[in-house]
């Protein structure tokens, strides 16, 4: 009985403490909310955002051609929605990955022009469309490279294994900004005279080098998680080493590594913002350029809040898409 009353007391005191804590927190949140709302409505001047929306989206893309990046972004978004809904028709589902890969040449074609469209130089690419281009290109190039590196690190050939390991480990030891710096300022020194690579492509190249090392480690984790019996079963069926890797190991490793890979994608999307420091006018770069316009000097809180919400929205959207894919492609562990 004594124990019982003590228990009641304890529960009550915990609840009382909890209640007070909750109340205090709610009070603080409320105050913060009112303060922020007050600022948002009365002090903030959103002209720096509202007047420049097309710039944030397309950079200095020629006005009469803006439909091109817009079309590309819309096609990407609609493809995401289709993927989210998850069509039931098998042929449609099977062609989804292909459609995703196809958005890349489509994007490059729409942005750069040619074949009937007026050419637009990469200096005019900017804003969100450049951010997305950097992300998608780097990812699609880094994925196969990462797979090769992961396989290389698992290889039986000591030389291949050592080289892959050195590459992966040293790339993971240096900061991204150093790699991007290399891409922007040092790559030209390694090219023959007269050969130039556009700076957008150099940025993509640097991102690819960097991200592939991280992807390689994620995929290696996936490869190691595949039980040896899978390889035995495949070998028993007479598949050779290449066929085992192609049909059994890579598809399973990719599925296992999917959560880690989607995190890499989201991280990459955020990290493209570092190019603002190195002179590309992507989403953050546009914000910084606009802040130099005499009309908008000092409006950086508005710009930062606006940019943060755009990044947040896109990253969250990517995360939702990723969770959905994970669920659909998940391998039930119990049956391996």
């Amino acid at each position: 009985m004594i124990k019982f009353t003590r228990n009641i007391k304890r529960t009550l005191s915990i609840n009382l403490f909890n209640g007070l804590l909750t109340l205090a927190i709610l009070l603080i949140i409320g105050l913060g909310f009112i303060f922020t709302l007050n600022w948002l409505i009365f002090s903030a001047n959103w002209k720096v955002v509202t007047l420049n929306l097309p710039l944030y989206a397309f950079g200095s893309f020629p006005v009469d051609q803006r439909w091109r990046p817009a079309l590309w972004i819309i096609s990407l978004l609609s493809l995401s929605v289709i993927t989210l809904i998850g069509p039931n028709r098998k042929w449609l589902r099977k062609s989804l990955p292909l459609a995703w890969i196809a958005t890349l040449p489509l994007g490059i074609y729409l942005l750069s022009g040619g074949l009937g469209l007026p050419m637009v130089m990469s200096r005019h690419w900017g804003g969100l469309s450049l951010t997305i281009l950097l992300t998608e290109c780097s990812l699609l190039f880094a994925l196969p490279l990462g797979i090769f590196l992961a396989l290389g690190r698992q290889s039986e050939l000591p030389l291949v294994k050592t080289l892959s390991s050195i590459y992966i480990d040293s790339m993971r030891a240096v900061p991204l900004i150093a790699v991007l710096f290399f891409g922007q300022l040092l790559i030209p020194l390694f090219l023959p005279i007269g050969v130039e690579i556009d700076r957008v492509w150099r940025a993509i190249f640097a991102f690819t080098l960097f991200v592939s090392a991280y992807i390689a480690e994620d995929i290696r984790g996936g490869l190691q998680a595949i039980p040896n019996t899978q390889i035995e079963a495949a070998a028993t069926l007479g598949l050779n080493q290449f066929q085992i890797t192609h049909f059994i190991l890579i598809p399973q490793a990719l599925r296992i590594a999917l959560p880690a890979l989607t995190n890499q994608a989201i991280g990459l999307f955020q990290n493209t913002s570092l190019m603002a420091i190195l002179g590309l006018i992507e989403l953050l770069g546009i914000g910084r350029s606009l802040l130099a316009n005499p009309e908008f000097i000092g409006r950086y809180i508005e710009v930062y809040i606006w940019l943060a919400s755009v990044y947040w929205l896109f990253c969250t959207f990517m995360a939702v898409l990723a969770r959905h894919l994970e669920k659909r492609l998940a391998i039930q562990k119990t049956n391996i």
């Binding site: 598949l239 066929q243 049956n335």
Partner: protein, 248 residues
Amino acid sequence: MEHIVSAKNLSKSYTKGLYALDNISLQVDEGKVLVVMGPSGSGKSTLIRTFNGLEAFDAGELNILGIRIDASHDERRIRQIRKRVGMVFQQFNLFPHLSILENIVLAPVQVQKRLQTEAEEHAMYLLAQMGIATHANKYPSQLSGGEQQRVAIARALALKPELLLFDEPTSALDPERVNEVLDVMRNLAKQGMTMIVVTHEVGFAKEVGDQVLFLDSGKVIETSTPNVFFSNARHERSRKFLNQIENK
């Protein structure tokens, strides 16, 4: 007539002095079923896995379907053997990322270069024989253990093997599911398939086996017909083992 499988003085040791296989010799003829029994750790699995090259051995030689392999473990010959020998595992080992149909069709199309449509037709025929044709488009995780093991058998059969190896095919199954797999195996034996089966199923061994090989500590203790082995085993160790599994 040549034997389908003939092993001569096979030996393998993991650590020095401790033999997984100790001087084993045996023969299996076409259309016969050899049942391998023995306590756990006796080397049954190791033995059956040497027959398609999943395990290398240290000494002796093997002749499978006329292809000779020895301790050098020549990979080209082993691939030759694997194309003609099917194997069914205790844990099914289906490919979880492929549908049932894709699991079965993979090897015929990729290894034997058969046409996709033809391979699928054959796969559907096999699945129908196993009584699981309705599951063709499901994934392994959606099937029960017994169903998965029947898929694994169909996958092995899809390559039209001349020899089937079974490594404890029913040990991982719920007891009430064991028979649906054994029935399939009985049918195969009736159709004249040459099989080597590692199992603890006494009933199956009695009914289907042409010979029982009893293994302990890597040694062949005795090889007899089921009739002899189960009613009148020649060796003390065999009798002890039989007692144990009957008391289970």
